[in-house]
Amino acid sequence: MAEKIKWVHKDFISLDNLSKEEILYVLDVASSFEEVLKRDVKKVPTLRGKSVLTLFYEPSTRTRTSFEMAAKILSADTINVSVSTSSVSKGETLLDTIKNIEAMSVDVVVIRHSCSGVPEFLAKKTKASIINAGDGRHEHPTQALLDMLTIKAFKNTLQGLKIAIVGDILHSRVARSNLIGLKKLGNEVRFVGPATFIPECFKELGAEIYYSLEEGIYDADVVMVLRLQKERMGAGFYPSEREYARFFSINKKTMHYAKKDAIFMHPGPVNRGLEITSDVLNDKRCVVLNQVTKGVAVRMAVLYLLLTGGKSEN
């Protein structure tokens, strides 16, 4: 007999407003969907007739394709809109864009935008369900969920783990979402990197801060490596790539500071040789490719939860 669990949120914007139970529930649903990806016929009719629009103001092949695949496997129709800077400079405001979209009766809008708060802003303005595919420096909830699903697959638990996130925390929405989600589930989360990348305020959100790589990833079960963005060098966040790589790179030597069976993750795209080396990427403990598969399953789960249920006919 199917259990009745009501998903009450119209949108999927942040892990901050989900409870621990809700997070675990989404992961549970995602695991069930993983099986579909292993079939020969990777299609189920569940969301037939529903339409999903991906609206990406920032380029991203990986995340967008992942959402597209998830929608298509569930038999939903997809439309992709990549907003190039030129059309934005033509003057169409966000509000006008969303109103035009609503006129097309789209059921879900998956949005990625460089300004924090945009998904929340849109959610208030439209009946369509909004999924946050990354907003500024705020959150990237589906990424954090797929990271958690990956961790669960390799560590068999999502509780009591020591997880170290290394790199440019300040500008990373992935780090934020992971911090929020993993803390809710009862794990120790460490932020590791130079002080310019890790404001003290993160302690108030539950993170432990380390400026030394060796201390930061010592005895860690999971090491998540963040991409170093070259623009930050110009703004004074770090002096040179050479220095950054020398002190914070996860390589053949430094990877051993973590536990013997630790897993290494990276949300991508990777700067090979900079924040992470090929030795680590090719090591069996590096689970970057698994993260990609789980990404589709997580996004299928989110689409399923947002679109099904509806009003009871009884």
Binding site: G117, R137, R173
Partner: protein, 425 residues
């Protein structure tokens, strides 16, 4: 026009007085302990619950005309002032074109006079041409045209040498300079106060040190040049402290704060509320307490609104793209009355900070309630409850985080220039 006011309480910077007034043709004819029995008056008010103040003055207002009339213009701004019981305003220079020459100053004064509303408008001219921070303006000419102070408000003067020369030059014309104190290299691209809220929302923060360093520099230059510096919109605890120490050391510096800095904290922006996006940003609770203490002990001389109207299309967008600022002419009084109710300041402080002191700083004769003096009065019902709705707002814009909130206290009449105005709503 003959007006008699019986049994009202008169509030000035010196105290509260139960006096009765007779005003005729704009002059206060009688100030009496006994009730006035004049016959054939045009207006008679007898109400022990009402307060009479010398007309309020808001020394930090952005009227947006010329150039940004879609947000506000001189007439609508003056109507908003009337609705707030304000009989005098000083308007800032960041218009388009910038008020950095006598022609614009003259235009603003003329426009204001044309409206025939009971509000005197005093233009504040820019410190530097075009607000570029490079060349100082023709201060003598501007003073003659009617400018009462100089300020690049909207921006800070980044180059200390330029500001120093501007302060010295202004001194020779005995003119005050209003400083928007900000260290721009620290606050650049910042959206909200730097702290836990900026982290939670994923927004670049404006560190408090930007204001602290700015205030310290401006006070130090005030000391060096011995000119009259007025620090605008103080928002930080350390900023208040610096000003307190400077005053004790005998440096001539005055300052102002705004109601949002003593009522709201950075939490107001949660949910990406652009109506709460302002520069300087809303700060923490300990800053609110420090601002209140600064008002209580006299460190902060003036309460002004920093009325900054913006069109809804400039606010109802991505947080990072939204303009900074909130309107405030119509809430200046009730929000300050709230401080009196909470025991932070008393009624005569209110009269001092909202009426006498801002005029004194700008060299304007403050209204005096004495026989023979011109009548420039705001009559207030301190208990009147009303809700701040879009419909009740007289300004063209409605960008305020107090929208929808219930206000207690309203100006209901203005007596000025020989006229009697009943404020609607």
């Amino acid at each position: 026009m003959k007006i008699k006011l019986n049994n009202l309480t008169i509030v000035t910077s010196s105290g509260l007085f139960k006096k009765n007034l007779l005003i005729e043709k704009g002059i206060i004819k009688q100030v009496s302990d006994k009730p006035i029995y004049a016959k054939f008056v045009d207006v008679a008010i007898d109400d022990k619950d009402l307060l009479v103040f010398p007309g309020f003055f808001d020394m930090h207002v952005h009227l947006r005309e010329p150039g940004f009339e879609y947000r506000e213009d001189i007439e609508s701004g003056m109507k908003a002032a009337v609705n707030g019981g304000i009989t005098g305003i000083a308007c800032m220079a960041n218009t388009n074109p910038v008020n950095d020459n006598a022609v614009i100053t003259h235009f603003i004064k003329c426009r204001a006079e044309q409206t025939e509303l009971p509000v005197s408008v005093y233009p504040v001219a820019a410190i530097t041409k075009g607000l570029k921070g490079e060349q100082i303006v023709e201060m003598g000419d501007l003073k003659n045209a009617g400018a009462v102070a100089f300020s690049d408000d909207g921006s800070a003067v980044e180059n200390s040498e330029i500001l120093r020369r501007a302060l010295e030059y202004a001194k020779s014309f005995d003119m005050p300079i209003i400083c928007h104190s900000e260290e721009k290299s620290l606050s650049k691209d910042g959206q909200v106060n730097e702290g836990i809220i900026s982290i939670k929302l994923g927004l670049k923060g404006i560190p408090r040190e930007s204001e602290i360093i700015g205030i310290f520099r401006d006070i130090t230059l005030a000391k060096l040049t011995k000119s009259r510096v007025h620090i605008a919109h103080v928002s930080t605890e350390e900023g208040v402290d610096l000003i307190r120490k400077a005053k004790r050391a005998g440096i001539y510096v005055t300052c102002e704060t705004c109601p949002h800095y003593f009522h709201l904290t950075e939490e107001e922006v949660l949910g990406y509320n652009t109506f709460a996006k302002v520069n300087p940003p809303l700060r923490t609770y300990k800053d609110v307490l420090a601002i209140r203490e600064g008002l209580r002990d006299g460190t902060i001389d003036v309460i002004a609104s920093d009325h900054a109207p913006h069109h809804i299309d400039e606010k109802d967008i991505e947080f990072e793209k939204a303009n900074f600022g909130m309107i405030g002419l119509e809430t200046l009084l009730p929000l300050t009355l709230e401080l009196v109710r909470q025991g932070v300041i008393d009624f005569k402080d209110l009269a001092e900070k909202l009426s006498r002191k801002p005029r004194q700083i700008l060299g304007i004769n403050p209204p005096v309630i004495k026989e023979g003096e011109e009548a420039n009065l705001t009559i207030v019902d301190p208990n009147y409850k009303w809700v701040l709705t879009k419909e009740s707002i007289c300004s063209k814009s409605f960008n305020t985080p107090f929208l929808g909130k219930t206000m207690k206290g309203k100006a209901i009449y203005i007596i000025k220039g020989g006229q009697f105005f009943e404020i609607n709503k």
